[in-house]
Symmetry: D2
Subunit: 424 residues, 4 copies
Amino acid sequence: MRIFEQIESRVRGYVRSFPVIFESSEGATMTDESGRQYIDFFAGAGTLNYGHNNERINSALIEYISNKGPHHTLDMATTAKKKFLTKLYDTILQPRNLDYKVQFTGPTGTNSVETAIKLARMIKGRSNIVAFTNAFHGLTMGSLSITGNNFYRDEAYISRSNVSFMPYDSYLGADVSTIDLFRKLLSDNSSGLDLPAAVIVETIQAEGGVNIASSEWLRELSQVCNEFDILLIIDDIQVGNGRTGDFFSFEESGIKPDMVTLSKAIGAGLPLALLLFRSDLDQWKPGEHTGTFRGNNLAFVASYEALHYWDDMDLSNAVKYKSDIIRKEIEAIAEKYPELNASVRGRGMIFGLEIPEMGFCSQISERCFENGLIIELAGADDQVVKFLPPLVIDEETLLKGMSIVEQSIGELLEEKKQNLTGEM
Amino acid sequence: MRIFEQIESRVRGYVRSFPVIFESSEGATMTDESGRQYIDFFAGAGTLNYGHNNERINSALIEYISNKGPHHTLDMATTAKKKFLTKLYDTILQPRNLDYKVQFTGPTGTNSVETAIKLARMIKGRSNIVAFTNAFHGLTMGSLSITGNNFYRDEAYISRSNVSFMPYDSYLGADVSTIDLFRKLLSDNSSGLDLPAAVIVETIQAEGGVNIASSEWLRELSQVCNEFDILLIIDDIQVGNGRTGDFFSFEESGIKPDMVTLSKAIGAGLPLALLLFRSDLDQWKPGEHTGTFRGNNLAFVASYEALHYWDDMDLSNAVKYKSDIIRKEIEAIAEKYPELNASVRGRGMIFGLEIPEMGFCSQISERCFENGLIIELAGADDQVVKFLPPLVIDEETLLKGMSIVEQSIGELLEEKKQNLTGEM
Amino acid sequence: MRIFEQIESRVRGYVRSFPVIFESSEGATMTDESGRQYIDFFAGAGTLNYGHNNERINSALIEYISNKGPHHTLDMATTAKKKFLTKLYDTILQPRNLDYKVQFTGPTGTNSVETAIKLARMIKGRSNIVAFTNAFHGLTMGSLSITGNNFYRDEAYISRSNVSFMPYDSYLGADVSTIDLFRKLLSDNSSGLDLPAAVIVETIQAEGGVNIASSEWLRELSQVCNEFDILLIIDDIQVGNGRTGDFFSFEESGIKPDMVTLSKAIGAGLPLALLLFRSDLDQWKPGEHTGTFRGNNLAFVASYEALHYWDDMDLSNAVKYKSDIIRKEIEAIAEKYPELNASVRGRGMIFGLEIPEMGFCSQISERCFENGLIIELAGADDQVVKFLPPLVIDEETLLKGMSIVEQSIGELLEEKKQNLTGEM
Amino acid sequence: MRIFEQIESRVRGYVRSFPVIFESSEGATMTDESGRQYIDFFAGAGTLNYGHNNERINSALIEYISNKGPHHTLDMATTAKKKFLTKLYDTILQPRNLDYKVQFTGPTGTNSVETAIKLARMIKGRSNIVAFTNAFHGLTMGSLSITGNNFYRDEAYISRSNVSFMPYDSYLGADVSTIDLFRKLLSDNSSGLDLPAAVIVETIQAEGGVNIASSEWLRELSQVCNEFDILLIIDDIQVGNGRTGDFFSFEESGIKPDMVTLSKAIGAGLPLALLLFRSDLDQWKPGEHTGTFRGNNLAFVASYEALHYWDDMDLSNAVKYKSDIIRKEIEAIAEKYPELNASVRGRGMIFGLEIPEMGFCSQISERCFENGLIIELAGADDQVVKFLPPLVIDEETLLKGMSIVEQSIGELLEEKKQNLTGEM
């Protein structure tokens, strides 16, 4: 791995947590150059919902390349893009009665977020944006300004301009309605909270620690936005694309956001990002917002295939089924090891196991990797183990992965006990 | 094409200039669904330096996919990434004595630019960045703040914070040294120009109208940056990767920038972006700057193959040879039609034909497309026809493309003459 | 009054509420050109704590002018300034054990506030400032950014940069501790609240609606600032200088702020503003912050005389005595007219009578003026009648003023009743 | 002077250059506590155009105070204010055909500047403001953002937001028209210069080094503003009020600015500031911009008297007469001591003697003070001796002051020579 240490910037991160060289991958399994296999509970940070090297997708990619389909076309029309758009409309938008326009932004989540807040500010002629505690929306300047975590910021780079942070659902405990607080500040014209152009929110704060907004809270938030003429943007980059069992994570709540950002799994492993918005918000001038790679045709091909998972309810049902398994397993772990003081939360196929002891989650992730499982952390202090397997993982592999977690925690606690004894 | 009008945002642009659906492409030729062929003098805005569906690259992609190489891996290590990094070092950096670290940013040019200015501000602890008139660096908030063109901006979205624009080479005419002006403002502590953390500059302003900085000017700029302890960032996104005949566009001038942004052609058609910087500037904390798609393995595979073009001088020589052809042909056009009052400028395989008459360049592009050529415009008023063919275009196709331009201009002028006669 | 309408900007305000031309004034009484007298319950927005044309002050001014004492001296030393500084130290700072340095800023409150936040940011090297809901700190750009009321702002002029608003004491009702909320956000490094350089707070939000922070809350706030290394700035411009009975409004709570802004009554009617700060915070370079009128010697002369009020406890005791009178009288009004649904709050000689019915307070102020009393409103919706008489008002005048309020409200309610009857 | 060192902040400046305690002053002379007299060539930084303790003004002040005229009235109407407004209209505005509205801002220059740029941005709905190299407009946040000198700024306090600096007249030498540069940048929609709401400019940059804009340049600037629909604000705080011989410094050029800021000498030594603007720009809502001390009646009284100087041409003619004297004297000094390499510039009764040798001007000022003259420096490096006597100085005192300068320079040069000899 010398070349990485020699010339890749020290900013590199995951290569430190999972220090092997991966050579191939399939479904929910990755294999390193020595042939060792790892179960993947990380799924490329939510990008690989449809699994590694999905056969159907791979076949389509090979066929497309073999037929010399254009790879890169900016925002020209191609056969691949036409098929993708048609499929998106027929399978996703139309059945859900979502009258959305589709904008192809640069193929990263942060591009989509930047586009959303730019369009919102332009339309409303207001500069303020409301985001939430522990929000993560990306690291380019606009997205970073609405991201909570100080770790990514530097005073010299970014100032908190025209952004107001509100407490997320349950941030102030079960007894304080954070929506009431928001409404009071909006109603008071001397509160210091300027009427925002938009509110941007994740239904589940994945990076922020697997914090889950209730459907009730989302409906109230949507209601407040309506009352005060504020656009509601759902950032569905990490938990859209089926992670919660529905295609969009907000479906369960019944709200209809004004804008939706999509990236990660929408490209089925290839870079792609979309911004969806109500058609009356389509107030761009032609060419007013661009980006070289907004026409990544291989991603269109892959995504077209992936969208077939939404032709029926099979995937959706499978997610719900496996959700129950994960919950049961994690709760069993929390129960088995009460000394963890762990708490469990999750929805669909994203779960968090929060452990108050500082640094313990890092040990779990490390030990799991030694035991053959890739699993990552979340939360500002890495205090949460995040369970994020591909949606298409088979039950056996899922259970095996869960048992590695259980076993790894067991080992760590045992060693701790022995250390304590040894010290005495 | 109804689906595009129905659900794609009206922000779409090139699909309006080139209103056909492309189905396949090869080398410097694109084919639409009706089988009609077009010569490509646009090259995906400089992304397709190595041509469409380059055979060597395609074979490698198909092999990689067939072998189930991982597609998406964030910044974990993979065999494909290792090969790419090694090749980049051996073929590009090491032979040029460039002691650069490589950072994989989100795979779009603007991501790379955002990363550069963030790192520069962090290192120097200063917030100001100097950019130049007619600069184009991207459209996310940080990059947009250093982009000249007002068309992309909106007061509600972005304020000009901590950015100072200086006139580019020759902006004030041949007699005024814009470097002298810059030095005077830096020397005067009451000039209102705060000492910047960095200067960011394109050696050729491609979007800005094919404006070309002389080697002399670049050396003086580099010298000023040295004197005042300012980092020099070369944005080589559009004209790096061989466009000028050398791999980096600044090689001819002999300067060694502190940072270099690369994107577009570095991925050979697939999304990829890099930031290179002097190793002593590698002051990131692990994970401090991230981006989901910074591990686009298909792009590593494609780029690895493309970098073989730099094993010897063949491509470089070919660019110089074809550069002469293009220059000769464009100058012939300008000479043949003196009524255009056209001026010609270019370097390597990027050329601009500037025509003062407002709107005439648009007509040329449109007519060329009707005649089978894809060619785009540049400059704040679209007053420049931009010649940007794939570097690997064969001589015959190149000449055929040039003749379409000549013929299209001839037709337009002829029709204009007839219209004038008709009006009398 | 034609000249005012003819050439004074329509921004003029109080001249509309009190549309007469005042010719002379004394104590708590103003007289217009027609000889009509008005009791003054406004005291120049808290500037005239020592009354209009205080005899002792007037004599000193006349003597100073007659002796050709310099009027304007920037920050050179003068005899008048020496006397003022010595008196301030001997009578105010030294007896209270306040180890403060004195900075003479431009002679307006907002100048003092700007200086405070500039110094705080410079010292801490952080850009964020925390202010509170309903705060009013002035209208120059820096002060305006920390002022809650939207009425004074315009998107084109100011963006909310590096300012975070927290809820003031009791803003979320009696049950929610706003200090707990603040502490939680500070403790959570992903909350989006950047660690501020300073917190700025009014102990009583006079403009904001006579909102009163409890001593307990101020102590907790001071404690949080200590814990997180944040400077605490008390803006004592309107309620310092004895308004609450003590010289500084925070004395009762026992806290020792890091900085204190003083203006309004410190000049006893002439423009003067000071910034006080802990001597270890005196990190200015000579001349680094200036302002032409920071040496207003007539104000030094006036203030020197006024400070003699603090030689003993007489004024302090008188304020407490009259505070009880005001409270009793206002509460009697609220009780007599239950249909007002009024609430009463106050401390020292600042009181608010809040009446929910939109616009009714304006009617009260207008009617009071007709009946010979100058009284103003507060709160974002002008929903509070603000009682702010000179501290030196005599009991008889005070009671007469109170009875005008009572009578005016009675008249208005009576007329309302008759209108309702008439309408039937 | 111990009390100053003990409790005044180290930010104090002039008290260090002129370390005596002043007790009285009259005309152009100040007297310290020991009875020593100093000629005043500083005039309170241009505030004391009408001299210290002007007899007519003093008498009026004493009479006003004796009659118990109100001192402090916010923006209520008073007899004193009415007289002042009427006089300003009759004597200044009406005869010059200036259809200006008058806004009373907080009584400091920076308040007036802040108000001007706020109003300009509000009216035009644009955020950018253009200021010039070496501009000085004040030190509150808005004014500071358009002030060139870095000495007053700190990254933590202020970012350069929505401000563009252009080179002042002659900044790039005699051959480069800085207006042409400005026009080119405005015409080019990709220059990075956003169309500003306003241009703010001093006709003479007093603090900036006594840089003088030609009438021609001012006319061209006014013309460009007209062409591009930009408001032109003349900051006449230091050189208005007769300093150049006319009441407004821009009269000579014939332009009619859209806004004019006035402060310093308009109050004849007492704090007062005005903003004048074309009546169609009076788009404020009542009370939208305020400031406690905008009703400083003693200043109205003083200013009313001072404005009588403009009843005829006497003062104007006297300024021109004394201007010639000063010029002749300074030029004689420059000629007598060619080793200074000094250059002389000035207009009316403001002159600068620029001496390239770093630090020599400070020695001159210091030596002059020892010899009985108060004189200050200007320019970013204190490289200019600034001559700024009261306009009403009598010829004898003026000549005596000039001879002190000459003598002081002579002494310094002689000592230098001796030191050099001594060193050998």
